[in-house]
Each structure stands twice: as C-alpha cells, then as structure tokens.
Symmetry: none
Subunit: 180 residues, 2 copies
DNA sequence: CTTAGTACCATTGACGCCCATAAATTCCCA
DNA sequence: TGGGAATTTATGGGCGTCAATGGTACTAAG
C-alpha cells in the first residue's frame, strides 16, 4: 500500500506547521502582565504572517464588552467598501467613529506580544487574563469569565432552537399520521 | 485488531489517480494515551489527504456529548459564506462563537495522530479510548460506551416509529375495507 | 529627574517532532 | 493457491524547539 506518508514527507514539502490557516479559529487564554502586555496566540500570528503583517489592528467591538482585532488589511478594505458620500448615513458615520477612530495598530514585540491600551482594558474589563476568541475573519479579546457566560447563553439558545425544531417535526408527522 | 478494514478496491481506486474516497465512513476505536494523543483512522486521513490537508479541525458537537471533526476547508468555507459585516447579526455571532471559537485545528504527528485538548476530552467524556464515527461530510469522536448506548437508543426509536407506522397503516386499511 | 513607553534578552515548561516497535494486512512469487 | 516479504497502521517514549512569560535596558517626554 503506497499511501503518501502523512508525516515528514509532507512537512518537507513545505506544509510544516499545519495547513496555512486563513481564518482565526479557536480560543486561547493568555496572561496580561502589569504593563498591559499579552501574547497573541501563535496560530493567530501565523494567520497575520501570511499577509506579511507584524501586528494586529484592534478596536472596541460594537456587539459586546470586548475588543475586536484583525489585520490592518481588513480595515483598509472596509474603508474601500464604504460609499464615499459627502453626507454619510447615520450608520456609516457611526461605524467610522466607532471603528476607524478608535482602532489602533498594535505591533508585536520580539515575543509576539501586544500592549493593550488602558481604554481597551477598561472597555473589555480585562485585568489579569485575556481570552482570544477566533471568529473567522476577526477575533475578539474577552474577559474569560464574561466569555464563558455569553457562550453558555448562546449554547442554551441554540439548544432551545433545536428542541423547537424537533418538536415541530414531531407535530408535523403526527398530523400526517392522523390525516391517514 | 479492532480495525474494520474496508475493501481494498476502494484504496486502489484512490491510489490509481481515480476518484478517491470523499466521505468519512465507518467506525474505528483507537486508544488515547497519557498525552491525549489518538490515531486518526487511516481511511479518514486518506479523505483529508485528497484535500492536501495535514490535520483535522475539531469542535464540540452541538447535538451530543462528542467531538465533531472535518477538514479545515469546510470551516473556512463557512467563514466565506458569512457576510463580513462590522455589526453581525445575532445568529451569525452565535455561529461564530459556537463553531469558530470552539474549533481547533489539530495537525497530525508523524504517525497520523492528533492531540485532543483537555476541554475536548472533558466535553466528550474521553479517557482511554475514542470511537471515530464516520458521518459523511464530518465524523465524530465518542466515548465508545456512550456511543453504544446512543446507537441502541436510536435503533429502538426507529423500531418504535416503524411499528407505529405499521399500526397506523393497519387501522387505515381496516377503515377503508369497512367503508367498501 | 521621574515616568511612560518601547525594544531587547532570558527562562522554562509544554508540546511538536522524531525514532522505535509490534501487529496485521497486502503484495508478490513460487 | 499458499506462504513469505514488504508495507502500513497503531502505539509508546524521548528529545529538541518554540511559545508564553518575566525581567531589564534604553529612549523620549513631562
């Protein structure tokens, strides 16, 4: 049987370090030191490195008490897509203020860390630990405790929704059998 | 050997450049060692290899106490389909949190194993053995004992449903014959 | 002079990577 | 068709590297 060996052969071919990940995936909890420094998870750094970026762009999330981050390229893409109206809509103006104005490009230090500005720490209620949460095109930095609560709530909601679907189906099939 | 061998013709089909096996099929029980490592069944690795993937992406299943896995390509396809909105909808946000955030890309070691993170082991109640269950586009990793129980229950439910259908049909046909 | 911010070095513990082994299956050839 | 050789799979263990983290020196600004 001549399977291509999945180990060293492929790695030697240049795929070392796993597949070139393009999205932010996974959750990683790291420490925040007295200077506000926190290590960006290596897998997230790898995503940014494929874009030749040596830092992350962060801004307060619009959806919850956390900080959102992505590559600088995404911010610039957002600028491109926003219509260049002399009189922007309320939404556009809000986005401009809330994201562009408060966004900051945070460069990595030698060890792959960034320093979180004081207002970011406050916004996300970050003290001694930060949870990096992959969300696909972006990631978020949460207070681990707050994250757990929010995710638990989302999980419960999903379960209820699923339960409702099952019930729906049961009623439907019952109706069908009764119609016979 | 507790390894269900699939027909060699399937393997040969994959080797000769023809259409390779594309779906996760079959059930395989492998050991989990002290480091949390488990061998991914060779047939499953073969599926991933056709996509040039050297790892699997796993996440806690929303449907039961098990871990679900697939190729990274499937996850990134989901990322692509979701709109890149600065203010995502609640549903989109929930998907991101429940899938992307809890997913981990687990690369193969030289022997075709992955290491299961502690939270995954806990979620699926995995200790010394893990059962890989093919589910087509994805597969699941179960505690073998729990899997057996769930499958037995599913079988019983299917039988009951069938019995109910037979009964309904009998009543229906009786009603029709009496009406004649 | 003090303080804040930044860049650079140093440690260590986990984990990625490799080797080795044994069982088992497939292949090949008599 | 049968038996032996060669792969291949699954699994155990050791070692080296890198990521995460703490600390220090340097620069600039108040």
């Amino acid at each position: 049987m001549h399977y291509v060996r999945l180990g060293s052969d492929i790695f030697l071919a240049g795929l070392r370090g796993g597949p070139a990940m393009k999205s932010f995936i996974g959750t990683f909890v790291n420490k925040i030191d007295a200077k506000g420094r926190i290590s960006v998870p290596a897998p997230f750094r790898a995503v940014l490195q494929t874009k030749s970026l040596s830092g992350v762009t962060c801004y307060p999330a619009l959806t919850g008490p956390c900080i959102e981050g992505c590559g600088l390229d995404r911010i610039e893409a957002m600028v491109e897509t926003l219509p260049d109206d002399p009189i922007p809509s309320v939404d556009e103006d809000a986005i401009a203020h809330l994201i562009f104005a408060s966004a900051r490009d945070l460069p990595f230090d030698g060890g792959g860390r960034i320093v979180l500005p004081a207002d970011f720490l406050k916004k996300a209620d970050l003290t001694d630990q930060g949870a990096f949460v992959g969300k696909g095109r972006t990631f978020q930095i949460w207070n681990p405790t707050a994250l757990e609560a929010v995710q638990a709530e989302m999980f419960n909601r999903a379960m209820e929704e699923r339960a409702a679907q099952v019930k729906e189906k049961a009623i439907g099939s019952k109706a069908r059998t009764e119609a016979v």
